[in-house]
């Protein structure tokens, strides 16, 4: 297969920084975790999953 094309199409390290944030994927569970941790919640909500196609 064309490994150079595969490399070109996949994101470079600098394009993956938004995925280094420890995103949770469930608002309900996230609020319970925040309550236990004594932290506020930050919600990134988009039409389309922000961690998928948006």
């Amino acid at each position: 297969m064309d490994t150079e094309m595969l490399r070109r199409l996949k994101p470079a390290a600098g394009e993956m920084r938004w995925l280094e944030i420890p995103w949770r994927t469930d608002l309900w569970a996230g609020c319970r975790e925040a309550e236990a941790a004594g932290r506020p919640v930050f919600l990134w909500a988009m039409n389309g999953n922000p961690l998928g196609c948006v």
Binding site: M1, D2, M5, L6, R8, L9, K10, P11, G14, E15, R17, W18, L19, E20, I21, P22, W23, R24, T25, D26, L27, W28, G30, C31, R32, E33, A34, E35, A37, G38, R39, P40, V41, F42, L43, W44, A45, M46, N47, G48, N49, P50, L51, G52, C53, V54
Partner: protein
């Protein structure tokens, strides 16, 4: 999508979110409609925020929200840049520290199953990356901004029986055509020009060709090493209504692509240990939400599939087209 690069790739934003908040990412198209405690909680948060009460030009509630665990809003916005998000985060933290913590919202924890999907047990879950490919510089009219660097991510799922159907007899040279339904699924739901947005999936009657084949290169160490190949062509007339003007729009759109890949099937575990697949082709035209009004093509585009191995936070995210009869035969 632009927020990924402009806001959430910023080191200060990332550090604040990781250290001071519980960061959550979810699909608000689902949250807005979920009839369960989580949907109620989202509606409570969103109606206090930047789009609260708005129904025109759309009823979207997308954006960024900081809140207490009970849903009390601390700040919200819908921006792309870190320079605009950071002040919202800082004000939210000030508000959080000034008030007492809050209990999480009440509810029985039951979930609206229409919007909760998990990858198929024992199946194959893949990431699907997409981006524009280089063009002739003389003919490239794209502005030198995010549109030249845009890429997107979707996910593809195969049930366990479907994944097994991609593997021929474990003999070098043996080959098998993918079941027609799977080849058409790959074409309809994954040869999508979503580089700049999230357009509708292809309809089944827009699939002109879709053929995929696996061929055994070698069998060694309990693994069947496969070469993957195929091609697909799709086309049709896309019609939609512009959200802002209310005017009807239409555009012919088409895509042709060839597939080339390699995979390894673990015979004992009956699952893929590797699945690298590339599709390269040409796309033409725009459609709703793919933001190609200034760039209708024809232009080169490419997709790359790889196993979603759980190392990224969104690896269990359903395919964008999941609600469009994804697992049903055509």
């Amino acid at each position: 999508m632009a927020a990924r690069a402009a806001a959430f790739s910023d080191p200060e934003v990332a550090a604040l979110l990781a250290a001071e908040f519980v960061p959550v990412a979810e699909n608000c198209s689902h949250l807005q409609r979920q009839q369960d405690a989580e949907g109620d909680l989202f509606r409570l948060i969103a109606e206090q925020g930047h789009y609260g009460g708005r129904f025109q030009p759309t009823d979207t509630r997308q954006g960024m929200y900081a809140c207490r665990p009970d849903g009390t809003l601390l700040g919200s916005c819908n921006v792309h840049g870190a320079d605009r998000l950071l002040p919202v985060l800082r004000r939210a933290l000030e508000g959080w520290r000034e008030g007492a913590g809050a209990r999480a919202g009440a509810g029985d924890g039951a979930t609206d199953g229409r919007y909760r999907q998990e990858p198929p047990p024992g199946g194959l879950a893949l990431r699907v990356w997409v981006r524009d490919l280089p063009r002739d510089p003389e003919a490239d009219a794209r502005p030198d901004d995010w549109r030249r660097r845009a890429f997107n991510l979707d996910h593809a799922w195969f049930r366990a029986d479907e994944a097994a159907a991609l593997v021929p007899e474990a003999t070098a040279g043996a080959s098998v055509a993918w079941p027609e339904a799977l080849a058409r699924r790959v074409a309809r739901f994954h040869l999508i020009d979503n580089v700049r947005g999230e357009p509708p999936m292809w309809r089944d009657d827009e699939v002109r060709e879709a053929e995929m084949r696996s061929r055994v290169r070698e069998v060694r160490g309990g693994r069947v090493r496969l070469d993957l190949e195929g091609h697909a062509a799709l086309g049709g007339l896309s019609r939609w209504t512009d959200d802002w003007t209310g005017r009807p729009q239409e555009s012919a759109r088409s895509t042709e692509a060839r597939f080339d890949g390699e995979a390894e099937w673990d015979v004992a575990l009956r699952r893929f240990a590797r699945f690298d697949l590339v599709a390269v082709g040409t796309r033409v035209g725009g459609t709703q939400y793919n933001s190609r009004g200034d760039d209708p093509g024809p232009a080169p585009i490419g997709w790359a599939w790889e196993i979603a191995d759980g190392s990224l936070p969104g690896d269990a995210t359903p395919p964008q087209g999941f609600h469009g009869r994804y697992f049903q035969p055509a």
